[in-house]
Subunit: 366 residues, 4 copies
């Protein structure tokens, strides 16, 4: 398959560019008979959409989703679900001067070398705007996984630049524009972002994503392990440079006697593994951590070259997120849900007849 | 596809268990006309094989590879290349007592929940022994990438437990059993490992993998980005819990003015990106870092349960690597080569006619 | 992959239902840099669209195609090309009474058994209307194959019911509403169709599709042989019940001394093979023949059952093609082009470096 | 995927050449917990193997299959099942003179043009010998489909050259070397074959394959329809030039009032459709018909060219089947079983929760 389709059975094909007429996706393989309407999808899109606070890009997009197919009388039919989102607030003039120039940290140079030409308007295909259809598709996956398995997905900001954000409560996540699980730290985050915008610079962030009520047994070794497929989609999110499952890089300095999660009839005693052993879900929470680089579009001047290898200086004005990590939480949730959904269908394809004579032990709850 | 085939064009299907009669793989899609014999593959297998020092498992396996098909008169024919490796030193009695017990940190519990039964001998399908066929397949990919693009792959240990290993020279890597790029630190590593074995515990490690002379333009957005596919295969390696591209988690605290690699006609001024922008190779070195957890098989007793949810204590004797990270370097090289190989073929499928009127700028050299 | 995506590298994902708001497809993997606009696609859609003569359905659809993505300043960018066609002439009332009834020869019963529910409006997903996006995608493939290889595709009606249609000239094909390569037989075909409509019955047809200037070497044994993939897409066209390559079923009674096409430096002496040997193109014309069943929607009453297994009688009124084969020619062309396009990209992925020291011998020209 | 892997969930990767050390396949995605041993597979291989009568090639191959992986204590584990068959009776000298020459009707020319080189020994990869691993894989699929759904597969010869073979009884099929469902016609078939061998020529055949007790609902529109996937594998079998489902090419002259199978609570009144409507199984028998061309290897001299486009005459001696159709029956059964198996797994992946409140109506029994 070419690169714009995700999944083996719950397949999402993404299309569009930042400043084209529309963006969207086609979901193929959705189980039939699930109640579905735009109202099930829009809330997740609204959490990701731009212009919701002064700390993100001021581009105004309603990101209203339209279902074009695959639903009849309010229920999925099992045929492809096409989702369309119109682009309404393009300002391509902001970018006209960048047609020839390669912005440091951006995909301008690589798209040009790969394809020989590129759509420079708003980053074209490389824009994070293309995560919107994935958030929409993720909402469909979340709904099925919740109805079928009671699953829940949530993601939050764990660090903004140098500021570590202690986890206070998941209830705080949606009570502030940073998806911070800690309301008391929000004033500090706001002050940091205000100063950052004034400076014309940008900053990175760390996001944690968690899935609860995960069925055990999901994942297809040797290569389509659940954690491998999670790493695949997470590293594929714009600006992500690192992915951890469970303890992640902390395992380097750990001892085996410390890391291996002990089991009892009451469940796992800990969750250093992050919910995956041997590439297969244990039934514990899935814990994934992402490192998101600072926005490449900044006002401060940077040195670069143009398409003729001539030196030039780049200052990026226009509308940008000073920290792309802020809006990454709903994206991470959606991508995790899409991976789990695909594996839930794959699992019953091969192992639909497996019957274990004892119940799954409860997953560890931190 | 089911989970034991890797790649879209250069496809490797892996089979076998740790203590079955044989392990191996089938490579489908290899370009025809390349000179190939077992002698091109065996050296990489020898670097990975067990029993080469007192710091790794003492299982004795020659890991002799046999080419069963796809080569005629010393050249690849373009048809599937089947590679077979006999298992010769199984000692299943070492594991017979584990049929009913779930070892903490191992895949015993998850394989059982997924499939309803499992081959417990030496970890069965979940054993790191199954990386041997991937190292063999990787050698084929490396040969083609070197002949076609002059590419080189090398991986080394950057940290053993708490001991950070400063990069001294790539020439040191193969001069010591730890794949350490620093010969002077080897006595410390040896002393650490000797103490660890006595203690009956295990430790984690950090591995860095680098590819040089990478063609620009490799990677298939939106989902099969080069870095996403690298993360996929790396997180899929046994015991890996974290993957970084370029600066990885350090980007969280970086500013955009610091992170974005500036360009000049002489090349990139730095390589914070690790050789990938927008999911497409820049032509710079690919830099990938892995976090490898401590071996789960340790002599120290751990609490667990059996298949009937009854509590039990587990002590793992027999033959194990006290640090699985030690043998991970050749595995990481092979997996990186397999991803790059697949993308090199995909790139010319879609973009074989793309002609850029200026040469690629040189990649940054650290 | 789920079933609504076709192709391995030139991938077309189809969506929509007969009476939904819109139908369309997403083409992923199209080579970049090719000039493309709606004007390149519309002519093929116009050849397939309904309402063009009294011998086909009177549903009025402009079938105007809109390019939503993947084209910048008139050239393909290598990113997904989304094509949208609005449905404008739905008359669902025509079908409301069929929600509970299974029409003989239709997919009503099987969709219901598979999915548990179905969209009955105009056949929903099972409608031949969903071939429109494939004709559009095929036009993109044809353009690239013509510009790159000089390929041409043409399909014609070889038999209508009992009436065999001798091949006179390809120039006649587009000079009559039956795609007959023989203008003198058209009055007979018209009289036959007029009588058929009066009778309330329908009839089958035989279609032949030919590709010229085919590059030799296309096809991926052992399973993705060129002829196997052609059979796959052709049998997948609505109402097709048989597929032949070259001499097809005539080979049963042939002798080897008669069938095998002899070669000379001037080319093949004949083309019994239909342009494929061992699943790989010879460079001769590809010759494919399709058997298309009579339309299942007829006015004559048929016996059937409803969703509760109760007997009922079905008479299908509304708007239908009395011979679906009439409009099948442009569809067959498009599907053949899509298969060849995918294989042209696959061929250069694996064999892009193959250099033969003698030119391909000319393909046999009938 | 490259071309040597078949299936989306139940994936079979085939490897080997006619005169290499071994041939085989890897089955990935087989459901776990099924009893399996070589004894379940060998009988189908024995039905296909050469040398069983004077009417087929005299090459002596035991075709003993060995299971290398995926089975533990007599049960499938859900991990890849590698099947190995040693080649024991190669006589490459028979073919040495053909390295430079392209045999009419063979894949010699096309493999050379595609790959730039080829293994000429016994046809190399293009040999029908590579169907042996598929027959082995098909036996695994048949076993699961029989245990799970009570399915049965059988294929027979319906025509040998000009001789039509009336269907007498399925019990006759295995009582004669021609797989003829009519024992009384066997003397005529034997006389025909004896005369044919003397003449040095070869002849075509028609094979019919039937599956019984097919679950309704199998098939994945729009492209992976059950009949489309059946056509794909059948046209991919060596020497097949035509495929029909149900009435096949007879539908061209049929009327809709004649073709559409009427339904009643007692089942379908007929089976013109061959068990598939809209690409989805109806629950009726699957009926597939194949046209198999006459063997290309004949003693009679044919005109051809060599790799330098120089004219030459070809006479093929050595060991060949004068009618490759004779051994095609077990191959067709296996390929049909592999397609149904893959779709059975795909069906429950997406539609595993579908519950219909009335039982499937019985399929029509001829």
């Amino acid at each position: 398959m070419s690169g714009s389709t995700l999944g083996h059975f719950f397949c999402v094909t993404n299309f569009g560019e930042s400043h084209g007429p529309a963006i969207g996706c086609v979901i193929d393989g959705c189980p039939p008979g699930m109640a579905l309407s735009e109202a099930d999808i829009q809330p997740d899109l609204d959490r990701r959409k731009p212009g919701t606070s002064r700390h993100v890009t001021q581009r105004q997009e309603a990101d209203q989703v339209q279902i074009l197919s695959g639903v009849f009388e309010g229920k999925t039919t099992g045929t492809p679900i096409a989702l369309l989102i119109q682009n309404t607030d393009q300002r391509s003039k902001d970018y006209a001067n960048l047609l020839d120039t390669f912005r440091p940290g951006h995909a301008d140079y690589t798209y040009w070398r790969k394809y020989g030409l590129r759509d420079p308007r708003g980053g074209g295909r490389a824009s994070a705007r293309l995560t919107a259809p994935m958030v929409a598709a993720g909402a469909v996956a979340k709904k099925w996984l919740h109805e079928k398995h009671g699953m829940r997905f949530e993601a939050w900001m764990a660090q903004l630049g140098e500021i570590e954000i202690p986890f206070e409560s998941a209830e705080h996540i949606h009570a502030n524009p940073f998806f911070a699980p800690n309301i008391s730290i929000v004033p500090l985050l706001e002050a940091t972002m205000d100063a950052l915008r004034k400076s014309g610079d940008s900053v990175g962030a760390k996001i944690v994503c968690r899935a609860r009520n995960v069925p055990p047994g999901l994942g297809e070794p040797l290569f389509d392990k659940l954690d491998a497929d999670i790493a695949h989609v997470m590293m594929g999110i714009n600006a992500v440079k690192g992915v951890e499952i469970g303890d992640g890089f902390a395992v380097v300095a750990q001892r085996g006697s410390e890391h291996g999660d002990e089991l009892s009839a009451q469940g796992f005693a800990s969750n250093h593994a992050g919910g995956v052993l041997g590439g297969i879900s244990t039934g514990q929470d899935l814990i994934v951590t992402l490192a998101i680089k600072p926005t490449s579009s900044i006002r401060l001047p940077r040195q670069s070259i143009d398409r003729h290898n001539q030196p030039t200086s780049v200052e990026t004005h226009g509308r940008h997120d000073p920290c792309v990590g802020i809006r990454a939480a709903p994206i991470a949730e959606a991508m995790l849900a899409l991976v789990v959904m695909d594996h839930a269908l794959r699992q019953r394809a091969q192992c639909g007849d497996v019957a274990i004579d004892v119940p799954a032990i409860p997953g560890h709850r931190a």
